[in-house]
């Protein structure tokens, strides 16, 4: 089922690559290149799924996720963390802040698409 996916990542090339994959699979994509912009986009666009980077210059992905989970309108949106900082503690923290899935970069596109498709609010 086509979904509206919000990608929050400070790397434009990553946003572009994810966008291509998701659009080809039939999903609608909205984008944000910082944590703050991501929160604003989530409030304005009410996506079905959010793909979230962790290391970002303004506020990091954990904080974005915490704020999403604290907002009753956004709390139910599944968050897929996609991070190049794949250590034992980062994935643990990603789940603890309310992330549904943690995928390490470099990712397999199949894993991203599976996660988006199986993510249920």
């Amino acid at each position: 089922m086509p979904k509206k996916v919000l990608i929050i990542d400070d790397d434009h090339a990553i946003i572009a690559a994810l966008t291509v994959r998701l659009r080809v699979a039939g999903h609608e994509v909205i984008q944000a290149s910082s944590g703050q912009a991501g929160l604003a986009q989530a409030q304005a666009g009410l996506p079905d799924v959010i793909i979230l980077d962790i290391r970002m210059p303004d506020i990091d992905g954990y904080e974005v996720c915490r704020q999403l989970k604290a907002d009753p309108r956004l709390a139910a949106i599944p968050v897929i963390f996609v991070s190049a900082n794949a250590t034992e503690t980062t994935s643990q923290e990603a789940y603890e802040t309310g992330g549904a899935v943690f995928i390490a970069k470099p990712y397999e596109p199949k894993d991203i698409l599976n996660a988006v498709e199986s993510a249920a609010a």
Partner: protein
């Protein structure tokens, strides 16, 4: 030493001419030493002479015209360099205990009652005082030197900790900064080769596959590099818990097939049905399988087959392995293959990539997962790399755990066993288990205590205090970050390691149960 000094400087502070005469006579007839005597009848002058001449010993009368002996000592200590014991023998005509106690409290080294003094007693008292003061000075100097050395060590240790922390952060940052552009390169080459940017010729698709494969290799090397440096520093976190074998393989299945397909190699899975759950860190085990598989693919001929298999091994283990149809290994290769930065020799070198870390990391990760690696290979007949993992059964796990500790070059002398419970029922103990797993060192063990609503942590560090301290600092960091739940160290046992081994491998668990009943 002062007693061997042929010339000792003695200050006599006394207002009784008979006594002064007696001291002078006794000392001038001493065959073992020569004395220079300085005399004063009053305290104030005596203090001045003390500072002027720095005598080896003072003979101090208790009753002086201007002050008593205790006041003299107080002033001496006050005006002195604070170096502690003063070389003073107090002499008094009043042989009562109260005066003696007061004199000793004031800091004199010895106390004699005038009427009872023999020449020998006086000489002995002087010598003892000089020796005592000299020893005390030496002692103080040594203590100071020790303190300085200790301070230096503490500073160096702190610096070292900071450096280690910086190095780890650096490695993490490097890995992060490598992986982001790697993702972009890999993703866009794959997007183009998938035809998402327009039609691609067969030739272009082949070139793009080179890029994708090379990028994957580079990503793998970054992972190896990261794991290897953490393994070396013994800071790699191990989060062992129950997993099905399929649950461990699932996340890497597509990556494995993709890598193999680049050489048209088929991956055949032979997983024995109804395997028990294993107790392991799934992510680390997946890395092991990946490293072994990547090696197998690397050395396998095109269009061949590699097998990924798993089977029960004895009652306590599951064995997982990769079998290839590559060139196999020589005996010399087999001897060194798991060493850091080693790659197998001669003809194979041409086709190998990487730092030569893959197998070493695989071995270390298996070791930390309480298993062992095995390799069977013969030149010309392919290779089988396999490893064991303990099944998820507490006696089996503890058994393997102790085997690991026995293999250490310096086995622990003691073990600390903690039973930790959340202060409020969490429903699920997972957050607490996760916290403990992240606070523990790789060689520590975290187990759920069945039906006890708590977690058992077994550590093999030298000092229980260190263990608790580490837990507490991790705890305060945890609270700051998450602030959710609180824990209580329910029970703690500090057990001699040898005893645990000799008696029963389940002693740790049983011990906790016993402690619980008396807590």
């Amino acid at each position: 030493m002062g007693v061997d000094n042929p010339s000792l400087k003695i200050l006599i502070v006394d207002d009784n001419p008979d006594d002064i005469q007696f001291y002078t006579r006794v000392l001038s007839h001493d065959p073992d030493a020569q004395y220079t005597l300085i005399e004063s009848e009053v305290g104030e002058d005596g203090l001045r002479l003390y500072h002027e001449h720095h005598p080896d010993c003072v003979l101090l009368g208790f009753n002086l015209p201007d002050m008593d002996g205790v006041e003299f000592m107080r002033r001496l200590a006050q005006e002195g360099d604070g170096s502690g014991c003063l070389p003073v023998v107090m002499l008094t005509g009043q042989g009562n205990e109260a005066v003696a106690v007061e004199a000793m409290k004031s800091g004199v080294c010895d106390y004699l009652v005038k009427g009872d003094i023999t020449p020998d007693a006086l000489r002995r008292a002087i010598r003892n005082v000089i020796e005592k003061v000299s020893l005390e000075r030496k002692n103080r100097q040594l203590t100071q030197e020790l303190q300085i050395a200790n301070d230096g060590l503490i500073r160096k240790n702190k610096k070292l900790e900071e450096l280690t922390e910086t190095a780890h952060r650096f490695v993490d940052n490097v890995a992060h900064d490598f992986r982001t552009p790697l993702t972009v390169i890999k993703e866009f080459s794959s997007i183009i080769s998938d035809g998402l940017g327009g039609p691609v010729t067969e030739e272009q698709a082949e070139y793009l596959l080179f890029i994708t494969t090379a990028t994957r290799d580079l990503a793998q090397m970054v992972d190896d590099f990261l794991d290897s440096s953490k393994l070396k520093a013994r800071v790699l976190r191990i989060d062992r818990k129950p997993h099905s074998v399929d649950g461990v393989i699932q996340p890497i299945r597509s990556m494995l097939t993709t890598r193999a397909s680049a050489k048209k190699i088929r991956v055949v899975e032979r997983i024995q049905p109804n395997l028990p759950q294993v107790f392991a860190d799934a992510e680390k085990v997946a890395r092991v399988i990946m490293n072994l598989a990547v090696n197998a693919v690397k050395f396998s001929p095109e269009s061949s087959e590699i097998q990924l298999w798993a089977k029960r091994r004895g009652s306590g283990c599951v064995e997982i392995g990769i079998t290839d149809h590559g060139p196999g290994l020589t005996e010399e290769d087999l001897a060194v293959i798991f060493e850091r930065f080693k790659q197998v020799g001669d003809i194979q070198r041409a086709s190998t990539k990487g730092f030569g870390l893959g197998l070493n990391i695989a071995k270390e990760l298996v070791w930390l997962n309480l298993g062992t690696v095995n390799v069977q290979s013969q030149r010309g007949h392919g290779s089988t790399f396999s490893f064991t993992l303990p099944v998820c059964d507490q006696p089996a796990i503890i058994n393997q755990y102790f085997e690991r500790l026995d293999e250490l070059s310096e086995p622990p002398t003691h073990m600390v066993v903690l039973q930790v419970t959340p202060t409020v029922p969490l429903g699920d103990l997972e957050p607490l288990r996760l916290f403990l797993a992240s606070a523990c060192y790789p060689m520590d063990l975290v187990l759920k205590v069945p039906h006890a609503g708590s977690i058992l942590a077994v550590g093999s560090t030298g000092e229980p205090q260190q263990w608790i301290k580490r837990l507490e600092s991790a705890w305060s960091a945890n609270k700051k970050k998450r602030g959710a739940y609180d824990l209580r160290i329910h029970n703690m046992a500090w057990l001699p390691y040898a005893e645990i081994k000799k008696t029963d491998l389940m002693l740790a668990l049983r011990h906790m149960t016993e402690l619980r009943s008396c807590a």
